[in-house]
Point group: D2
Chain length 161, copies 4
Amino acid sequence: MRSENGKTDVMLEVFGQPVAHIRELGIEVEERLPRGVVMRLPYREELVGNPDTGVLHGGAVTTLVDSASGFAAMASLPELGPVATLDLRIDYLRPAAAGEDLLVRAVCYRLTRRIAFVRAEAYQQSPDDPVAAAMGTFMITGRPGGDPAVSEGGQTAAGAP
Amino acid sequence: MRSENGKTDVMLEVFGQPVAHIRELGIEVEERLPRGVVMRLPYREELVGNPDTGVLHGGAVTTLVDSASGFAAMASLPELGPVATLDLRIDYLRPAAAGEDLLVRAVCYRLTRRIAFVRAEAYQQSPDDPVAAAMGTFMITGRPGGDPAVSEGGQTAAGAP
Amino acid sequence: MRSENGKTDVMLEVFGQPVAHIRELGIEVEERLPRGVVMRLPYREELVGNPDTGVLHGGAVTTLVDSASGFAAMASLPELGPVATLDLRIDYLRPAAAGEDLLVRAVCYRLTRRIAFVRAEAYQQSPDDPVAAAMGTFMITGRPGGDPAVSEGGQTAAGAP
Amino acid sequence: MRSENGKTDVMLEVFGQPVAHIRELGIEVEERLPRGVVMRLPYREELVGNPDTGVLHGGAVTTLVDSASGFAAMASLPELGPVATLDLRIDYLRPAAAGEDLLVRAVCYRLTRRIAFVRAEAYQQSPDDPVAAAMGTFMITGRPGGDPAVSEGGQTAAGAP
């Protein structure tokens, strides 16, 4: 499978298929990290929450954090496999500025047999001036013989196959 | 201001303007509660995360929870005014089933001078079988003379004016 | 095994042994619920955070919420067994008043094969005027053949055997 | 005011008074950081949750994280003043090992006019092998003329004056 875009290939490699929702928003993989990812959401008028100021609506930040965190959890597994979001907490530190792309850096900082713990920061110009910070836990569901969706609780991570 | 849809009028009344992102997803106000709201996201193919199963992607749940929680915070103020999301935690209890609308009931269960505490549940057939549960805090930013976005931290709630 | 106190017997039954830390604080089981518990922390001078006001320090609220939530997770299992706290979020709604006992009601509202989702409220005079609200996830570790502490991540729940 | 212990002096300086609960547990200030603190809880038999393994009970981790986070919020203010915990999320990454002190590094990584955002990690031998990770928000209550406890919601931070 080939795409015109090397960045998208990484997403295919990890998610296993084109992910409609992520593609629709225009989210791209900016950089693949050893146990994580940097994703970019290019600025678009349609993502504005407040037409007077041009500030991005909160849902855009949340969706990008959610997607990147799930990606980081999957990408950190010894063998690629599905994960389910158990929970996610996001702190909103400041409004996302108008006219600027949004980036999220998500890293799986601890991996146990069943659980991936992920941390993420959203930023625009610089990681040192974050827009949002997040922590989440993901259940590793792809063990042989399981029917993860029914038996494990949690929810297929944003964009997961 | 008139719309063709009584439900949408409630959103205008609270949010003060049409909200592009919310409208785009097709989110509707199902019921206005004394200190909260029930919102509905009609099922659509475009919101599917996994084509094999038809299960909604996680971002859809997150966005609806986010929107309804911000709405509940705003709607609970003595006078309507803007709020900024400080933080949100979502627990994902089970995957959202294919082919069914998603509903979120969000209520502001404690309001102080500066902070609104909100709880929300997402469900499909019945509130007794939730898909997700959430807790969030919102800062009440609409005090006279303030420039909330710059000075208070937090982020304009999803869909807030 | 007999104790002088029926309430303590319930704790022994669930936790499997006397729990030094919980006993030291004077925490009691007030009521056993189908999938949860109400625990009580009797007011004591030693738990005061601010001598001028007599207000309980935050750690006392946190510890009681933590203990009751872990208890609820364990008590909701088909067969009693150990659980490990994965994460806990507490919202502090108002200061705990001086001179009054603190109660926490914790319920496991969803149980999957591996995860128990718990919600809790802390209050004094009435559950309708809560001091704090909490959500947590617990991993069910007591599957045969496992060495939960090492392999599963998480942490032995407060007071768990 | 003098104490026999330089470390305790820092606590007095920030908290404004001896803090009974913190002193009782034996918590010490290990290092003062520009916008935070490293605190240490020396290992003691009384803090053990499971006598068979010697593993610290979860409440000890929670209390230390709570205390250090509140300290970091206070210590980051331009002028020392009280803060109230709004919410705290703790992820438990692995059990705390027997026989070893517990340390928590807490830093206020964003400060707005009303809110301090704090991050903390608990560890034993090395910060690179954390026991727990946490995020919290604190309301800055010490504005002139206010009665923070009543009007602002939240809760006096663990050990705060």
